[in-house]
Amino acid sequence: MNVMDTRSTSALLYLDGVHVSFDGFHAINNLSLALEPGEMRAIIGPNGAGKTTMMDIITGKTKPDEGTVLFDGKTDLTRLDETRIAELGIGRKFQKPTVFESQSVEDNLLLALNVDHSVRGTLFWRGSRGEAEQIDRVLETVRLKDVRRKLAGSLSHGQKQWLEIGMLLAQDPKLLLVDEPVAGMTDVETHQTAELLKEINRDHTVMVVEHDMTFVRELGVKVTCLHEGTVLAEGTIDQVSSNDRVIEVYLGR
């Protein structure tokens, strides 16, 4: 772990001048972004703008070619691996729902719980009432109580989305990265998800990527629009959505 002597920023998440290219294709270009503690930020942007890639960088899946990525003002995320980053308290929901298909919904949550993740810890683990209650709570929230014993693999697409959100809740990280949480949800569910995120935001920092403008509007938070791997516009939803460039490349006329 690399701990710098002094905090250089108050932001919980701080990206500066990040570049990534894949075989010559520049997916992220000089991207800079800061997320204050407790903030919720909505990220929008055209398909292929680099939103998911940005999350890959933050969570250690992709190493940037250059640039700074700081967590909590002092930890250089580019030097850490996925596990370490998760341990620091960064949780992620993937765009394509990824759950442990051959384990039950319940076990998926159990695995996500933010408890001792060491080999020793899990080997000598014994379930506690607290954990069980937490799992029940999460199941309640994501409305998967009825299917708690089902294998995650047999859930429908939307149910998997919910389960992944549930895992994120169980993980209880400081920073939540949520990639397209309402894709494939009904309008009602979209609304519920927005409420859920707002609630989570009370004591967590959240970054959420979505294309559903209604949903983004409902969140009512600062919006960043990415385009070709860099920030195109930032501001309230109204500011951003009235930006000509944003309309041109993203919203359409």
Binding site: T83, A86, G91, V99, E101, Q103, L111, N114, H117
Partner: protein, 387 residues
């Protein structure tokens, strides 16, 4: 071991298994020793030796199932750990020969004398002491597995890539052990053992004791495996098997988990090898042959991957089939039969013997959730070997 782990580990199937093995471990030696030879119930010595061998194979199969069935690590070189354990025990047994070797050399084993060794190679020192050899039975395979795994898991070598480098490992060891100058008796290996802990290895009592000991080792290995897979660690292993990178994003240090089970499994394989050698009477480099390791994987598949009991059962069934088919009128056709057995098991019992049995059992009973075995019911969760 903490009691809650034990209780958690011993579900009904596990209890039955432990009891059956324990019964065999007690009754077979007793029948062999106490009943008069030739009586209907007496188990002849050659069967004791034979079954002893099966039991050792069963331990090896368990060790493979632990990593393959639960963590998706397909080792095609597990025979190497088995053989290393065997060699460690073989070295002890060689040193016990003392002056009874054909050249009567008190220090050097026979093969060293006729290959003109003037003194014992350094790595043979200490093997005259049982405790040291016993330690080495665990340490050598364990250390190799640890180093190998440390490299491979840290570099995130997975799937076939891992399988093939384990195969390369055992193949390299095969070639190395073949060499006379490697100091382990070359192709002829270590053989012509006399005593173990002062008892004649060929005596019926010793054989019976070794058999009982092997059963005990099987039970222990089984309990350890059960303890591992029924703990939360077991769930993490399955998570790694099915979605390794997702597990990382939850904050699990995947390489530590893999390293832990891989090393544990190698130690178990080493113990199996160590028990095997005195019962079979020889250890030679062919135990490192990649084909042997593949076969061991196949025992697991036949019995039912990811079921532990199945692995042990598979080892016994396949090897019994081999014993049975290679004698008598069937001998010329035994490869057909064994080959057909493998093909048919794959086609008709896709989850192996125990896996299929569990499946029927679940179908019969209610839809009891059984994440371990039900996992494979839809065929959706097979960890991908090749992309």
């Amino acid at each position: 071991m903490m009691p809650h782990i034990l209780t958690r580990s011993l579900d009904r199937a596990a209890t039955i298994f432990v009891l059956v093995v324990a019964a065999c471990g007690v009754l077979i030696p007793l029948s062999n020793l106490l009943l008069p030879a030739g009586s209907a119930l007496q188990v002849p010595t050659y069967l004791v030796a034979l079954w002893g061998k099966y039991v050792c194979y069963a331990i090896l199969a368990l060790s493979i199932d632990l990593i393959w069935g639960y963590c998706g690590i397909l080792s095609l070189g597990h025979g190497a750990f088995f053989a290393l354990g065997g060699y460690a025990m073989g070295m002890y047994l060689m040193r016990q020969i003392g002056t009874r070797g054909v050249y009567g050399n008190p220090i050097l084993p026979d093969f060293m004398v006729f290959l003109n060794y003037s003194k014992l190679p350094w790595y043979w020192h200490g093997f005259d002491m049982f405790w040291f050899a016993a330690l080495m039975v665990l340490v050598v395979p364990g250390l190799l597995a640890f180093c190998f795994g440390w490299l491979a898991f840290r570099s995130r070598v997975t799937g076939v890539y891992l399988s093939i480098i384990t195969q390369a490992m055992t193949y390299a060891l095969l070639l190395a052990f073949f060499r006379n100058d490697f100091g382990f008796g070359g192709n002829n290996g270590l053989t012509d053992f006399k005593d173990i802990l002062g008892f004649n290895v060929q005596a019926e009592g010793t054989r019976a004791a070794l058999f009982a000991l092997s059963c005990l080792a099987l039970i222990l290995a089984f309990l350890i495996c059960r303890a591992v897979v029924s703990s939360k660690l077991g769930k993490v292993l399955i998570a790694i098997r099915d979605a390794e990178s997702r597990t990382r994003f939850l904050g699990y240090r995947v390489e530590s988990y893999k390293l832990f089970v891989f090393t544990l499994s190698a130690c178990m394989a080493g113990v199996a090898g160590a028990l095997y050698v005195p019962q079979v009477g020889i250890i030679n480099p062919s135990e490192f042959a990649p084909g042997n390791s593949i076969e061991a994987v196949i025992w697991v598949a036949v019995g039912g991957r990811g079921t532990l009991v199945g692995a042990a059962l598979g080892a016994v069934v396949v090897n019994y089939a081999k014993t049975f088919f290679t004698s008598g009128v069937l001998a010329p056709y035994w490869l057909f039969m064994l080959g057909a057995l493998f093909v048919l098991v794959t086609l008709l019992l896709p989850k192996g013997i125990i896996g299929t049995f569990n499946f029927w059992w679940d179908q019969l009973g209610s839809k009891r959730p059984n994440a371990d075995s039900a996992a494979r019911e839809d065929g959706v969760t097979e960890p991908k070997m090749a992309e």
